[in-house]
Structures are given as C-alpha cells and as structure tokens.
Amino acid sequence: MYRELNDITLFDLLKDGDEAAFNEIYHRYQGLLYVYACRITREENEAEDIVQEIFISLWDRRASLTLRGSLALYLYSAVRYKFFDRLDKQQVRSDYRDAFLRFIRQGEYFTDLYIRERELAQLIEKEVRSLPAKMQEVFHLSRTAHLTHKEIALRLGISEKTVKNQVNNALKILKSRIGWFSWFLFLH
C-alpha cells in the first residue's frame, strides 16, 4: 500500500512517526540523492555521509518539518545545503573557487526561482538511469502511482480516517503486542 501513496501523503504519515512511510521515502530517493551528492562533491565517502545525515535529520526532525514545495525539492535542497556547508569548511572541492569566479564573470544566470528549481530537478532526475534497475523502478512507480488516503479509501470503500489508521495500525499493534508480552513475562 505504501508504494502506491504519493510523496505528500507519505510525508504526512512520516510526521506521525510512521516508520514504513520513512522507509518508502528512503527507497524512492536515497539512490538518486547519493548520485547527486557524488556528482557535486566528486568524492564518494563525503557523498555517502551527506545523504545519511539528511535521512537521519528527516527522521529526527519529522514532527517539526513542513514542506514549502514537493518532498523531492526539499530533499534536493538539503543535499545542496550540506554540500555548500562542506565547501565552506573546505572539506571538498578545492577547485570550486576558480570555477565559481569564472561563472560570476561570465554573468549569465537564471533569475527565476521556479526555473532554477525545475532545471535542478531535471538534472538530478535524469541520472535515475544510472541507478540499478530495481531502484529505477521504485522511482518511476512513485511518479505514476500517486494515491492519497482518499483515493485508497474510495477504492476499498472505507473512510479516509480508516485508511490512515490501517496504515498506522501495523506499527501500533506491533508495539502493543510487545507491551503485553513483556507485561506477561513480568508476572511469571
């Protein structure tokens, strides 16, 4: 069921602490973010660290996060900030200064934020083709099947609230079983 949910719905579930939603987001974006980070840092270990930091902070700060645009845009800009932070601390890319200066002198750039976001997303997402076939499939599926709670509810003929609960329930039931079990152990 998670595979059929759109990014926004997954993000909503994540905010409620849904681990399966987090895992689905991981499977959708981790490969692409890693390739993106490799391309800009030109250093595989730094790239891996950047992506892992992003997912850890996504989980730790889940309750307080809000999306300005799409989940993808949020993740892409998280990579960008982590990268610039490493540039600032001179941990990567000693060559960047000259390249940036040349770019400034050349004086041509995208003034519109929306165009920049689209351009960046296209550049990142075109490298989905360099991912292993299975990861490519997960990414493409996520772009075609984008159900919301409501659509799943319609399909199953149950209320939206019930769907959200059912998606959340697996985890809660598991938790309460563990609870009862340890209580049982306690008595004996």
Partner: protein, 387 residues
C-alpha cells in the same frame, strides 16, 4: 546582467548558508550550482550504489531503533475515546438544533455553522511532463510554466496553451486534475475549450501533431472543439469508449461511479465508439442527442436529451430533474467532498428542480429534508442517509 563581484565566492557561499543573500546573489549561487552539476560526469557505478544503499539502510534502522520512545498505549487510547465521544456529542447537538421546528421561515439561508461544509470553487492541479505538480488555485495570473516551447498562461482562472511559432520538439503530456469540490476551464493548444467538472481529469499533449488530436478524460468534461477537418479530435475514456469529434460542442460524463458513460451533443456532430475490436459498436449523434454506453459496451441513443440538466454543472447549478437519491448524492459527494453512507438501504425518492452550487451543504440538505430525506453528518465529511 553582470554581477559586480561585491563578494568573493567564499563570502557568497557563507551568506547563502546563513540565509542572508539578496535575490540576485541567491540566483547567482544556485545557478552556479546548476551549471556545475550539469558539467559533472562523476557518477558511481551500480555496485557502489547498491552497497551504499544497503549499508545506509542498516545504519538508519539502528538509529530509529535507538531513538524510539517506549510505547505508551494506555493514555493515548483513552484520550482518543474521549475525543470521539466529545465529537459525537457536538455533532449530535448540531443535528438536534437544526432539527427543531422553525418558527421563522423567512430565515431562508442559515448561516454556515462550524459543522457546515462550504461549496466548491474554481481550481485544479496541473501535472507537468516531468511529474511536477502545480496547484492552479493558488497561482497568480501570468506564465506558470513552459513545456517544450509551449507557454502555459493562467488568466482569470483559465489555463491556456500558447504553442511556439517554430517547429516543435518531442511530444510531452500534461494533465489537469480537479479534486472533489473544484471546477476548471482550460484552452488547449489548438484553441479547443474544455470545462472540467469536479473529481475529473484531462490528459493531453502540449502541442497537437500527427493525424489526430487525442486527449483522455476521466470524470466529466464539456468540450467546445476548434474546427480542423484534417485533424479529427478524439477523446478516450478509461473504458473502451471513445468519442470522435468532427468540430463541435458536447459534454461527456465518464465518472466511474455512474451507471453509463453519457455523451450529449449540443452542436456539430460526434461519433461514439464503444467496446474493443472486433465487437466495436458505434453511434453517430445529432445535435440534442445523447449516447449512453453501459458497462457491457451497448450504446443506447436518446434523440432529445435534457440538455439543461446535462449542462447544469457548467452553469453552476445542480439539476435534480427526475433524479433518484443515489444520483443526487453522487453529485453532492463530488462538489462538497463528502462520503455518503446509506444506513438502511437507499430510500426511494425522485427529485425535481434546481439549486445553486454556491450554497453551503446545509442549505442544500435543508431543501432535500423538505422532501422527506433524513441525514446526519458524522466525522466532519461523512453524510449518513437515514431511513
């Protein structure tokens, strides 16, 4: 636009990280990033990608496990039950209040109370060729995007496609989708105008090339097709039914929860094609006619359809002439974004008359109550039909 080199690259990056850049500086930093990314060929191999994926997944699972709080099911469950009871009491209070006999009949339009539901309005969601979505309700007038040279311009709630004058690149598709409670109007690249009813979608190329103009419809839409005899306009539905247009105005109702797909012709001529080959059936409609394609692929043609009823939604009214309760409820569900539940079967009613779609749900329900239907609103958006 030459940047005056007020800052060094280091300073710009630092300002960017601190969120202290001007718009121009921000544009400069991000544009450099885009051009730097575009020029990079540093891509890890598949083996490496897989290994990192596995390794990171394990690390994250361990992190989540370590930070998980001990579950406290008891108090949470109790609070949830308490909240549910409170909601029921509140909802019950509302219905008890609204069901009291009224002394003042001149107060025709009750003020929307917190338990009421506002009507739908203009708006839709646009999906671009690369999968990005734009909520069109919230955007101002002007160019909202470009697709392969075609400009997408939003003006007074209508989205229009302006194809580039020169030759076009590869064909890409856009989709406009209205959720429940939204109507939307758009103008396709050939000048064809489309009005989308609630809970509907239209998929189309950003420029028409080739021998036909092909689009796909889900739900209900009214078309005023621009004339072009050398390029017939073809509308596909989720089923095997398609409509071939020969320059004309008509409505197609292809909601999956309606018993048949109805094509109603206002002017010109259309050909309705139902079912897969070789058992395909076709019907040619005359103005005023309606073709009803049922699930088994049969076509029933009504020569003089009630076009006022068909076109009511486009004019912002519900027309319930000769409609049964279920038909009425399906329309309310789409416009007020509510779910309908029948507590004990579907009561047998037949309605007549029109009501404005600008009314809140309570006003519409109030007029249905007068006929003798009884309702109860639960959990905010669940309307229970009582016997």
């Amino acid at each position: 636009m030459v940047y005056m080199e007020k800052y060094t690259p280091e300073e710009l990056i630092r300002k960017y990280l601190a969120g202290a850049c001007t718009e121009e500086e921000k544009a400069l930093v991000e544009s450099w990033h885009i051009s730097d990314l575009a020029g990079s060929a540093y891509i890890p191999d598949e083996e490496k990608i897989n290994a990192v994926h596995e390794r990171m997944q394990t690390a994250l699972a361990a992190h989540i496990q370590a930070t998980r709080p001990t579950p406290r099911i008891g108090p949470l469950r109790f609070r949830m039950v308490a909240a549910a009871i409170l909601l029921l009491v509140l909802a019950g209070g509302y219905w008890w209040k609204t069901h009291q006999p009224r002394e003042h009949h001149f107060a025709k339009t009750p003020a929307p109370s917190p338990a009421d539901i506002a009507p739908g309005h203009e708006g839709a969601i646009l999906t671009l060729a690369d999968g990005h979505t734009l909520v069109l309700d919230s955007l101002g007038n002007g160019t909202v995007a470009t697709q392969q040279g075609t400009r997408l311009v939003l003006s007074a709630g209508t989205l229009a496609y302006h194809p580039a004058a020169a030759g076009t690149e590869a064909i890409v598709y856009n989709m406009v989708h209205t959720p429940r409670g939204r109507h939307f109007r758009l103008v396709l690249p050939d000048g064809t105008q489309v009005w989308l009813n609630a809970a509907s979608s239209l998929r189309y190329p950003t420029v028409f090339t080739g021998p036909e103009r092909k689009v796909e419809v889900n739900g209900e839409a009214y078309f005023e097709v621009a004339k072009n005899t050398s390029m017939p306009f073809i509308i596909k539905t989720p089923t095997e039914t398609s409509v071939q247009v020969l320059g004309t105005a008509f409505d197609i109702n292809a909601y999956s929860d309606e018993p048949s797909i109805n094509t109603s012709l206002l002017s010109g001529s259309v050909k309705v094609v139902a079912g897969p080959l070789p058992s395909q059936r076709t019907a040619l409609l005359m103005p005023g006619g309606q073709a009803q394609v049922t699930a088994d692929g049969n076509i029933k043609v009504v020569d003089h359809a009630d076009l006022g009823k068909v076109m009511a939604w486009k004019n912002g009214v519900f027309n319930f002439q000769d409609a049964g309760l279920k038909e009425v409820m399906r329309q309310l569900a789409r416009w007020y974004d509510i779910d309908i539940v029948y507590e004990q079967g579907v009561p047998d009613f037949e309605f007549e008359g029109e009501i404005n779609q600008g009314n809140t749900l309570a006003v519409v329900l109030n007029s249905l109550e007068k006929v003798g239907v009884h309702f109860r609103l639960e959990n905010g958006r669940r309307l229970v039909v009582q016997p």
